[in-house]
C-alpha cells in the first residue's frame, strides 16, 4: 500500500529532475520548486503536496492494540499487538527514533529477511478456543521456544549465521536459545513448514522455561516500555497465572519495506470473578463477567504518546453472533445477551472467507481516555449462552506407543471435525490435503520405511495417501531427523492414524542433562491444511484505519495446528556407577600390585640374616652399656 501511494509522485518528480534515480529523491522537491517558482506557481503547490504525501510512509511508526475475546469455556483471551516499523535503511542510516536499535542491528548484521521467535507456556486448546481463526493459526505456538529465520545470504553462510544469531538472541532475551546452535538442534525444512529456497532454518526448545525475564527485554523494545499505553496492563503475576501465554516477535525486512517488527502477546486467562461457584462450565449458567481490571489488575489510562494509533477491540465470536441474530435482536454494545461497560467508538463486522459473517468487533480508541478517566472495558452477561468456536478440518494429536527402553513408535492421529460438510456440502469423492512437518532428535532413531497409515481402521498403502514426502534422516550426534509429508485424506474419513517405529539411542555420559530421568522431549509437530485459509475480511473497514492487528487477520494464512510435545523416557545410566567402578577397580589393582611388588622385592633369607646382624650389634651395644654402667656405679660408691 505504501509503495503504491509513493509511486505516483516519484514518477512526477523524475520528469523534472535528472537525478531522480537517487534514493533521496523525496528531499529534492525543496530545490525543485525554487527553479520553477517564477514560471508556474501551481507546480509548487503540487510538489509540496507530493512531498508531504511521500514523506509520510517514510517515518518510523509505532502502533499498539489489544484484542479481548470471551472464550466458550468461561475464559477470556487477550491478544496484545505492537508494531514498530522502520523505513528502508538507506534513508535513516543508523539512527532510530522509535524503532529498537538492537533489532535493526540484528537484521543488518545477520541479513535476516524474516524471523519469528516465540516463547510459550501451556498448550492452545484447539477444540475449545478455536482452530480456524487467525488467532489459532498465527498465535498458537508450541510450548517452549520456537525460532525460525529466513536469511538473505548465500546458502553456504547460513548455518554459521544461524549460530551467531542464536547466541545474540539468547543474550537479548535472557533465554537459552543458544542451545539451538548445534547442528543436532535445528533443521532446514523445504516446504513442510514454509516454502523456501533452502535459506530457512527452524529450531525448537520444548522445555525452555518462560518467565518475566523473557518478557522484560521484550517490553524494552517498545518505545513506552510498560510505563504507558496498552503495555502498562501487563501485570506479571496475572499474565503468568493464565492457562496459556505466548510471547512472539516477528520480523520482516526487505529493501522496499524497511523493517517491520510485530510483537504479540497472547494470553488465555481465567476471569478473576467474585463468585467462585462459576468455575466449572455448565449449560444454562451465566458466563463470568469480566473487565480489564479483573483480568490484569489494572485499568488503561491513555495511550503511549508516541504511538500512531492505540486501540482496544472486543471481539465476539461467530457463535455469539449467530445466537444473538437468532434471537432477533441487533448486535449493539448493549443487547439482550450481554452489555459492554463502555460504548464503543466504532463497530466492525468481520467475515470469514467461507462464511457470510463470522465475528463482530467493538473498537475503543485509547487516546480518548486519561489517567482521571481510565478505560476499564468489560463484558457483563445477561443471559446464559453456549457456543463453540470453528475447529480446524481435523483435530490432530500425537502420542507414543510401545513400552520398554528399547523401542517404540510415534503415532499421529487425525479426528475429523466434519467441517468440510458445513462448508462445501459433501461431495463424496473429495479429498483434504494435510501437510505434516516434524523434527525428531537424533537419539530417537525413526525408521521412516515403517510408516503405516490407517484410515477409519483399515490399513492403506503409503502411495494411496501420501502425495509427496521429504525425509532428512537423522545422523548420530550430527543431524536431527526431519519429516515433511503431504497427505491427501478422503473427505469422508472420520479418523486416520499414522505410525512410525523408532529405536531409542544411547547418549554419551556427558550428554545427559542433569534431570535425565525426567525423559527427553520431542518437539511439537506441525500439521497444516493448505486448502483452508483462516483469513478474515472486514468489508466495511476503512483502509486508512491502519490497524496492523486487523491487517494481520486479513493476511492469507493457512490453517495449522501444533501437536503435543512427546516425552520419551530413554535409558539413563546410574550416574554414580563410574565412581563405584573406579573405586572398586583401584582397590583391587592396589591390592594386586602391592602384593606382587612385595613378592617380587622381598628376599626372606637376606632379611633373616639382616635381622641376625642387628641382633648381634644390639647385643654388643648392650654389653658396652652394661660395662660402662657398672664402672660408673663403682666409681660413685
Amino acid at each position: 500500500m505504501a509503495a503504491h501511494s509513493r509511486g505516483h509522485p516519484a514518477m512526477r518528480e523524475r520528469e523534472f529532475s535528472p537525478a531522480g534515480t537517487s534514493p533521496y529523491w523525496w528531499i529534492r522537491p525543496c530545490a525543485g520548486p525554487i527553479l520553477f517558482l517564477s514560471l508556474l506557481f501551481l507546480f509548487l503547490f503540487l510538489f509540496t503536496a507530493a512531498a508531504a504525501s511521500a514523506a509520510a510512509p517514510e517515518e518510523e511508526k509505532f502502533t499498539e492494540e489489544l484484542l479481548l475475546r470471551p472464550l466458550p469455556d468461561r475464559k477470556a483471551l487477550a491478544h496484545f499487538h505492537f508494531r514498530s516499523s522502520a523505513p528502508p535503511a538507506a534513508s535513516v542510516g543508523r539512527h532510530h527514533h522509535l524503532f529498537p536499535k538492537a533489532i535493526s542491528q540484528l537484521v543488518k548484521k545477520y541479513h535476516i529477511s524474516e524471523l519469528e521467535l516465540s516463547f510459550t507456556q501451556g498448550r492452545w486448546n484447539y477444540e475449545q478456543w478455536g482452530g480456524f481463526d487467525p488467532m489459532s493459526t498465527n498465535n498458537a505456538k508450541p510450548p517452549g521456544v520456537e525460532l525460525w529465520a529466513v536469511f538473505d545470504l548465500p546458502l553456504s553462510e547460513i548455518d554459521a549465521t544461524w549460530k551467531n544469531l542464536t547466541h545474540t538472541l539468547s543474550g537479548l532475551f535472557c533465554a537459552s536459545i543458544n542451545f539451538l546452535e548445534s547442528s543436532t538442534a535445528f533443521s532446514a525444512p523445504r516446504w513442510g513448514f514454509k516454502l523456501n529456497e533452502g535459506n530457512l532454518r527452524y529450531g525448537a526448545l520444548p522445555r525452555e522455561a518462560v518467565c518475566t525475564e523473557n518478557l522484560t527485554p521484550w517490553l524494552k523494545l517498545l518505545p513506552c516500555r510498560d510505563k504507558a499505553g496498552i503495555a502498562s496492563l501487563l501485570y506479571r503475576p496475572s499474565i503468568y497465572k493464565g492457562y496459556y501465554h505466548s510471547q512472539k516477535l516477528k520480523l520482516r525486512s526487505s529493501q522496499s519495506l524497511g523493517i517491520i517488527l510485530d510483537q504479540t502477546l497472547t494470553v488465555v486467562l481465567q476471569p478473576n470473578t467474585v463468585s467462585g461457584e462459576q468455575l466449572h462450565s455448565n449449560h444454562g449458567q451465566l458466563q463470568p463477567n469480566w473487565s480489564m481490571r479483573h483480568l490484569f489488575n489494572r485499568k488503561l489510562s491513555g495511550k503511549c504518546l508516541v504511538s500512531k494509533s492505540s486501540r482496544v477491540f472486543i471481539e465476539v465470536d461467530k457463535g455469539i453472533v449467530d445466537n444473538v441474530n437468532k434471537s432477533g435482536s441487533d448486535l449493539s454494545w448493549s443487547n439482550e445477551f450481554f452489555v459492554l461497560s463502555n460504548s464503543p467508538d466504532k463497530l466492525i463486522k468481520g467475515q470469514n472467507h467461507v462464511e457470510i459473517q463470522s465475528s463482530f468487533l467493538y473498537v475503543y480508541d485509547a487516546s480518548n481516555y486519561t489517567e482521571e478517566k481510565p478505560l476499564d472495558v468489560g463484558i457483563t452477561w445477561k443471559l446464559p449462552l453456549v457456543w463453540t468456536c470453528t475447529p480446524s478440518p481435523f483435530h490432530a494429536s500425537r502420542f507414543l506407543m510401545g513400552s520398554g527402553n528399547e523401542r517404540g513408535s510415534i503415532a499421529l492421529s487425525f479426528m475429523s471435525t466434519n467441517l468440510h460438510k458445513q462448508i462445501s456440502g459433501s461431495p463424496t469423492d473429495c479429498s483434504i490435503k494435510a501437510v505434516i512437518f516434524q523434527v525428531v532428535p537424533w537419539y530417537v532413531k525413526v525408521y521412516y520405511h515403517s510408516l503405516e497409515i490407517f484410515i477409519d481402521g483399515s490399513r492403506k498403502t503409503v502411495s494411496e495417501v501420501v502425495d509427496k514426502i521429504h525425509v532428512i534422516p537423522s545422523e548420530d550426534k550430527l543431524l536431527p531427523g526431519t519429516l515433511e509429508m503431504l497427505l491427501r485424506f478422503p473427505c469422508s474419513m472420520q479418523s486416520g492414524t499414522l505410525t512410525l517405529d523408532f529405536d531409542k539411542g544411547f547418549l554419551h555420559i556427558d550428554e545427559y542433562p542433569p534431570d535425565a530421568n525426567q525423559g527427553f522431549d520431542i518437539p511439537s509437530a506441525l500439521v497444516s491444511f493448505p486448502e483452508f485459509s483462516s483469513a478474515r475480511s472486514y468489508p466495511e473497514i476503512d483502509p486508512v484505519l491502519g490497524s496492523p492487528l486487523l491487517e494481520n487477520f486479513q493476511e492469507d494464512s493457512v490453517v495449522k495446528s501444533y501437536t503435543e510435545v512427546l516425552l520419551v523416557p530413554l535409558t539413563t545410566p546410574d550416574f554414580s556407577m563410574p565412581y563405584n567402578v573406579i573405586t572398586f577397580t583401584c582397590t583391587v589393582l592396589a591390592l594386586y600390585f602391592g602384593s606382587l611388588l612385595n613378592a617380587l622385592r622381598r628376599r626372606i633369607g637376606e632379611e633373616e640374616r639382616e635381622l641376625k646382624k642387628t641382633v648381634v650389634i644390639l647385643k654388643k651395644w648392650q654389653l658396652l652399656a652394661s660395662i660402662l654402667y657398672r664402672k660408673f656405679v663403682d666409681e660413685l660408691f
Partner: protein, 398 residues
C-alpha cells in the same frame, strides 16, 4: 569544563620545544602509571545458584536476594551475571506465579519486573561458570553473558547450593572443586581481570572451598567451617519449602539497614554473623587480602563506584591511547594519564584475547587430545597400556 576548554587553546601556538617536553612528560607519566596499581574504578557481581529442583527454592531465593541487594546498592544489570539453575518463579509448583519470596511475610517479591537472568537452566554448568570467570568464551557469546572486568574491578562472587568438603555441586550432577575455583581465580589474576575479589559462599562446609586459593587481593567468606552444615532459616507453609538460608538471611538483615552511601565496613559485616543464630561458624579468609577490613566499606564490593573521568576531547577510539600528538599542557598530565590508561585497557584486553586464541604448540596438541572426539582414543590407549603392564608383571612374577 574549564580545563576542557583550556588545553586545546593553549596548544594552538606553543613552540616546538614545549611540545616535545610535553610529549616526553606525558610518555613518562603514562609509563609510570602502568607500573603502579590501577585504581578501583568499577564493580562486577557474579551471582550463582547451582541447585536444580523445586525443593531447592531457597537457593534461588538466596541468589535473587543478593541480586536485589547489589542492584539496590548501585551495580547496574549489565555488570551483574546472574546464573540460576532452575526456573522457580514460573514453576508449575509455585502458587505465586512470577514471584519469588525470601520471607514468609511475602512483603517483597524478589522476581520483580526487571530481572535479567544471564545463564539459566541447563546452561548453569561448571564449564560455563569457569568460562564466565576466566573470560574464555566462544566468539559468538554476547557481551551480556561475559564479565568484562579489568584490573580496576572489584568483583563479588556469590555462590549458593549444596556442597561438601572442598566441592560445590552444580545441578546435582557436576562438582566444582576448590582446586578449580583457585585455578580460575589465579587465571583471572594473571589476566588482570580484577583488583579485588570477594568470594561469598553459602553451602555446607563452605570454608573448605577456599583452601586452595593463593591469588593476592582475594577475600573469602563462607557460611560454615569444615564439618559443619549450613541450615535454612525458615519454612514458608504457603510455598511449601524453606525460602532462605540462615547465612544469607543474616547477610540481608545487615544490608537492609544500609544504602548506597553508607560507610559500614566489611569488618562490621563479618562480625555481625552470630554462630548461635547461623547454627554454623562463618569463616573468613583474609590472609591474601592487604587492606585492613575495618577500613573497607561494604559498598566496595556490594555497591558500585561511578567515577567520572574528565577528558579534554570527545572519545576518539582506541588509537588515541598511543597518539602522543594529542596536545597536552604540562599541568593536565596528572589527569590525563588516567584517561590514557583507561583507554588502553580495552586495547590490552583485545591483545589478551588474541593471545588466548593462539596458544602454544604443545597446549594445542594437549587441547586437541582432550577434545570430545579424542577422549575415547586416549582412554583406549591408556587401557591398552595398562593391559600390557599387567601382562608383563604377571609374566615377571611367574
Amino acid at each position: 569544563m574549564a580545563f576542557g576548554r583550556r588545553s586545546p587553546r593553549s596548544s594552538r601556538h606553543p613552540p616546538a620545544l614545549a611540545i616535545v617536553t610535553a610529549l616526553l612528560l606525558a610518555f613518562l607519566f603514562s609509563a609510570a602509571a602502568s607500573s603502579t596499581d590501577a585504581m578501583h574504578n568499577n564493580n562486577w557481581a557474579v551471582l550463582v545458584c547451582t541447585s536444580r529442583f523445586w525443593f531447592n527454592y531457597r537457593h534461588m531465593a538466596n541468589t535473587l536476594s543478593l541480586y536485589r541487594t547489589v542492584k539496590r546498592l548501585g551495580i547496574p544489570d549489565e555488570r551483574i551475571i546472574l546464573m540460576l539453575a532452575d526456573d522457580m518463579a514460573c514453576n508449575p509448583r509455585n502458587s505465586y506465579p512470577a514471584q519469588v519470596f525470601n520471607n514468609e511475610n511475602h512483603q517483597l517479591n524478589l522476581y520483580g519486573d526487571n530481572v535479567e537472568v544471564d545463564y539459566r537452566g541447563y546452561e548453569v554448568t561448571v564449564e560455563n561458570f569457569l568460562r564466565v570467570l576466566t573470560g574464555r568464551h566462544e566468539s559468538a557469546v554476547p557481551r551480556s553473558k561475559r564479565v568484562l572486568s579489568d584490573e580496576g574491578s572489584h568483583i563479588l562472587l556469590y555462590m549458593t547450593g549444596h556442597g561438601g568438603d572442598e566441592f560445590l555441586k552444580f545441578q546435582d550432577s557436576e562438582e566444582l572443586q576448590s582446586h578449580d575455583l583457585a585455578d580460575a581465580v589465579k587465571q583471572m589474576k594473571e589476566k588482570h581481570r580484577f583488583k579485588e575479589l570477594l568470594i561469598m559462599v553459602d553451602t555446607c562446609q563452605a570454608a573448605t572451598l577456599f583452601s586452595q586459593l593463593q591469588s593476592p587481593g582475594v577475600l573469602a567468606i563462607g557460611s560454615s567451617m569444615k564439618g559443619e552444615n549450613s541450615y535454612s532459616h525458615h519454612l514458608d507453609s504457603d510455598i511449601g519449602v524453606s525460602v532462605v538460608d540462615r547465612f544469607t538471611y543474616y547477610t540481608l538483615a545487615f544490608f537492609e539497614k544500609l544504602n548506597m552511601y553508607s560507610n559500614a565496613s566489611l569488618n562490621s559485616l563479618f562480625t555481625s554473623y552470630n554462630p548461635s543464630m547461623l547454627m554454623s561458624t562463618a569463616y573468613y579468609r583474609m590472609d591474601l587480602y592487604e587492606r585492613p577490613l575495618n577500613e573497607v566499606p561494604v559498598t566496595n564490593f556490594f555497591g558500585s563506584v561511578m567515577k567520572t573521568l574528565h577528558t579534554d576531547s570527545a572519545y576518539t577510539g582506541f588509537l588515541a591511547a598511543h597518539d602522543y600528538a594529542t596536545p597536552l599542557s604540562v599541568g593536565d598530565n596528572l589527569d590525563d594519564h588516567f584517561m590514557l590508561k583507561d583507554r588502553s585497557t580495552p586495547r590490552r584486553s583485545n591483545i589478551e584475547k588474541e593471545a588466548q586464541l593462539t596458544p602454544h604448540g604443545w597446549t594445542e596438541v594437549l587441547l586437541e587430545q582432550l577434545e570430545g572426539k579424542n577422549t575415547d582414543t586416549v582412554v583406549m590407549y591408556g587401557l591398552g597400556g595398562m593391559g600390557i603392564l599387567l601382562a608383563l608383571s604377571t609374566w615377571l612374577s611367574m
